[in-house]
């Protein structure tokens, strides 16, 4: 008599549990799908760029080395050499690092170690806001301020030049460098500072001999991330680079980095020309990959 309602009860429980398990499984898969989306996008982009970019070298008889080391880019005459752009990209990135890294590091040190709280409270958000400005606005700023300044003060006929690119990129990498470096400097244990000061070291001596070396891996990460930002930037660079297809020999030359080449010509290119632009993308992508591997190595070393 009593067993019957009991059975019913358990059945009921079993049913509601079944629903729970199904929901559990479903949400698990939903999360997995979301997590996979970014991986899938990455794979799609890589495959697409490589498929399109590799085609001329695999099927149309172009030589990859000619492409890399050729110094003429004249699509109408079937000449596709991107050496000037590779060099322009490297020069621009290195130049931006030379200016941006010291300024960024000193800012980070100032914010984390020296600045009174009231001042850090103003500067820190300002630096972070710099990261949120759309890159086209950096370009407009460069075009409206830096380019005329160079024309007036360096006597250039055309202010759009390598040095303008370097200045704009240096400003653009600041937020990345400052934020990452500041975080890593703040993470250095207070006891290191105390130990150094207690040994009669000056505060500045303590910063450069103990705090900064202890934050080394974080600071390296900051530099590499800033570099990635500089090498991949397109919009701001287009506006101030001048975009001439020459191998730059001086800071005042008009240049065309890899990114701007793609952005400038993709709109009207077709056929082999378009595929060559994808190939330019492959080269750019390789640079970024190399940077990321370096980054991974740095952080794994820092973990030790």
């Amino acid at each position: 008599m009593t067993s019957l309602p009991l059975k019913k009860e358990t059945e009921k429980i079993g049913k509601s549990n079944k629903r729970k398990y199904r929901l559990e499984k479903f949400s698990g898969n939903l999360f997995l799908f979301c997590a996979l989306l970014s991986v899938i996008s990455l794979l799609l982009i890589i495959c697409f760029v490589f498929y399109k970019g590799a085609h001329p070298f695999l099927a149309e008889g172009y030589r990859f080395l000619d492409f890399l080391l050729g110094s003429d880019w004249v699509p109408s005459e079937d000449k596709f050499g991107i050496l000037p752009m590779i060099i322009a990209s490297l020069y621009a990135t290195i130049g931006a690092l030379i200016i941006g890294v010291p300024i960024g590091l000193l800012t980070a040190i100032f914010l984390a170690e020296i600045a009174p709280k009231s001042i850090a409270k103003i500067i820190s958000p300002a630096v972070q806001l710099l990261a949120g400005i759309p890159s086209v606005l950096y370009g407009v700023f460069g075009l409206a301020i830096i380019v005329p300044f160079l024309q007036n003060h360096l006597g250039l006929i055309k202010g759009q030049s390598l040095v303008a690119v370097i200045l704009v990129l240096a400003i653009m990498m600041l937020p990345t460098v400052v934020t990452v470096a500041e975080t890593s400097i703040r993470a250095v244990p207070k006891t290191y500072r105390e130990g150094s000061l207690a040994l009669g070291a000056s505060p500045i001596g303590t910063i450069f001999k103990v705090v900064v070396p202890a934050a080394k891996s974080g600071i390296m990460t900051a530099i590499v991330l800033g570099m990635g930002r500089a090498i991949g930037e397109t919009m701001a660079v287009i506006l101030v680079a001048g975009n001439s297809l020459i191998i730059p020999t001086s800071l005042t030359d008009s240049v065309r980095p890899l990114t701007t080449n793609i952005a400038l010509e993709m709109g009207y290119a077709f056929g082999t020309h378009q595929e060559m632009l994808f190939a330019t993308g492959i080269v750019l992508f390789s640079f970024i990959l190399i940077l990321n591997f370096t980054l991974a190595r740095i952080s794994s070393k820092g973990g030790n």
Binding site: T191, R193, G195, L197, A198, L199, G200, A201, G205, P213
Partner: protein
């Protein structure tokens, strides 16, 4: 003071030691020291004379101000913005809060912290850090300082073959002794120790305590400790702190056997704390 002297005189072995003790000079003289964290007062009219080449222990329950007091002696409290101090601390005739040369003060007054805080560099570089900051670059001179300091901290034999490897690979007890060596390398007169064994195992603690008793021939040592047995084992005099005041300051044997103040007795017999 007189009664203690008489009592002690009966122990013939200690007569000579006691005589030298009488002639010992005051190294640190603190008068009416008050310290505030913002509005909160942490030290009340602290006055104490610390003798040279002795071990002075500061004991008391947590939050009684003993560590705060220790840190006033090399001005480590300067690092905290809200700290205000009045009163005077005189070391070798100089009021350390009047003269502004903190760097000179800290080369003269070394410090060993609660947890070993060696820098992430080699053992050698850690010990040579202070002298290098003082501008000593000569290699053989540095080598000599490093060896002497490590010997002085009784750790030379354990680390002499691995001077160039990272200091963070040592055990906690070894690290703390290298910290002591690092402090010794500055050739200070005074060494402050802020619960130097609280993070160590019993055997390492014993080694550090042995080291402290040998070091007092050369240095004036002020040690904060939670461990009353440790104060009894290593110190010559003991100050008992409670709520930011010094309740009692006397020879260690007296503090632990027949203290004058009821509160001291309650604390050392374990009734609170």
């Amino acid at each position: 003071m007189n009664t203690t002297f008489v009592e002690r005189k009966q122990i013939t072995e200690e007569i000579t030691a006691d005589n030298t003790q009488l002639s010992k000079q005051t190294k640190i003289s603190v008068k009416d020291l008050n310290l505030f964290y913002g509005d909160k007062q942490a030290l009340y009219d602290v006055s104490i004379n610390i003798k040279e080449k002795e071990v002075t222990a500061l004991i008391g329950p947590s939050g009684c101000g003993k560590s705060t007091f220790l840190r006033t002696l090399n001005r480590m409290n300067d690092l905290i913005d809200s700290v205000k101090i009045n009163g005077e601390i005189i070391i070798d005739g100089d009021d350390i809060y009047r003269s502004n040369d903190v760097i000179k003060l800290r080369t003269k007054v070394g410090m060993v912290f609660q947890k070993p805080n060696l820098f992430p560099m080699s053992i050698y570089d850690n010990v040579a850090y202070g002298p290098r900051m003082q501008g000593i670059k000569n290699k053989s001179k540095l080598n000599k300082i490093v060896e002497e300091s490590l010997r002085g901290a009784a750790i030379w034999d354990e680390v002499k073959d691995r001077l160039k490897s990272s200091a963070l690979g040592l055990s906690g007890g070894q690290q703390q002794r290298v910290c002591i060596a690092r402090a010794i390398a500055m050739k200070p007169d005074i060494i402050l120790m802020d619960e130097p064994t609280s993070a160590l195992d019993p055997i390492s603690t014993l080694k550090v305590e042995e080291l402290i008793t040998t070091m007092k021939n050369d240095y004036t040592i002020v040690i904060v400790t939670h461990n009353m047995q440790q104060a009894a084992r290593v110190s010559d005099r003991t100050a008992f702190f409670l709520s930011g005041e010094i309740i009692e300051f006397d020879e260690t044997s007296k503090i632990f056997s027949m203290p004058n103040d009821q509160r001291t007795e309650d604390y050392v017999t374990g009734r609170f704390g």
